[in-house]
Assembly symmetry: C2
Homo-oligomer: 220 residues x 2
Amino acid sequence: MPVTVLLVDDEPLVRAGLRAVLEAQPDIEVVGEAADGAAVIPLVRRLRPDVVAMDVRMPLLDGIEATRAVLRTVDAPPKIVVITTFENDEYVYEALRAGADGFLLKRARPAEIVHAVRLVAEGESLLFPASVRQLAAQYGDDGGNRAARAVLERARLTDREAEVLRLMTRGLSNAEIAARLVVGTETVKSHVSAVLAKLGARDRTQAVITAYESGFVAPG
Amino acid sequence: MPVTVLLVDDEPLVRAGLRAVLEAQPDIEVVGEAADGAAVIPLVRRLRPDVVAMDVRMPLLDGIEATRAVLRTVDAPPKIVVITTFENDEYVYEALRAGADGFLLKRARPAEIVHAVRLVAEGESLLFPASVRQLAAQYGDDGGNRAARAVLERARLTDREAEVLRLMTRGLSNAEIAARLVVGTETVKSHVSAVLAKLGARDRTQAVITAYESGFVAPG
DNA sequence: GATCGTCTCCCCCGTGCGGGGGAGGCTCGT
DNA sequence: ACGAGCCTCCCCCGCACGGGGGAGACGATC
């Protein structure tokens, strides 16, 4: 059974673009569209999509309120990916607080969009580190890196994965981690891959950055 | 002309070990030994070594005072590498403050020791990131990561190298950095290699870690 | 004029890394 | 008894990465 997606965006062009990108995938099916947040709930009830791709900035009911409403009023609610144009969008952070499972930039490459939908459909959460960095920067020294912290909380790393990430933040190679944990390097590679996927990181360096930004490890 | 080294350690066993490791290199020559800090200055004056490998904890005159004395009283002073048994050795930090060019753990692998001697002989400074991590940890939240910070100060990165390091801490690949700086990827590779060498990092991940530990970039 | 440091780019080369799969054993909860 | 989640290990594969060299252009310094 394919992953079913409901698109919610006030711009028809964006909806069309998302539909084109997602429909190109054999395992993804766009089952409906809505132009504002107010229309989301009845549609979710009727269509029961696996994933809702939702703009944060919309008339009537924005993505934050719509996210809250869906999670509050629907049982077995869909996964929610919020979409935004800006990297520095405080709405995004609020939407994540409201329970969204990930966020996407409109200018993300099609492959990233597809990847994100599949990931959240599988129950994973995701944020793109490059965007997280921007987000975190916005909240400055006082607010702290709440956004990045949220990534890690949502990443739901297993104990082993967390341990591997910790060793990654100490600068260890896969072979060294394997030696330290007394397992095979292939095992470490598996854990590392899982960590990268869950953190939305492209490589171990980005993973370590996210770890620092999130407070998973503290410098000094 | 080979790199000439003076060994200063109160334990004959350690001196013998260092001599064995260093003499095995065709380009390194151990020109003398001393058992305590007080004997260092006349020996330095007479032998004019390129590098002094000096224990921090010694009778009569410890490595810190000996380092200060050499730098204060000898012109064209040698490079000084302090040696310690413990990763959490506050003496080490003091020695670095006193002007030492790097430090070494006694349990470091021979290749690391050789590498360190060659590096400081060439005028580079070096600390091993893994040790830095330990050092930094000791100084806790209040004292901050002074040791790691010292690495970066001593690393004397050029403007371009610092810029490249900054982009590395944003998670960019060599190709992305090249695009950002509008230069070739080979150029970026050169800068990255220089950064790795100066920071004593094995790969970009370790470099990023050092950058965070040193406060070169601040999380959040 | 010569030297030094920096920035730029080039070559070759080995390998660690990460993506894409899969698979078996284990514990735990139902 | 069964599935879910986790940990473990395996395969193949492409490529970015990093080490080792070298070299030309430019400005500053002496």
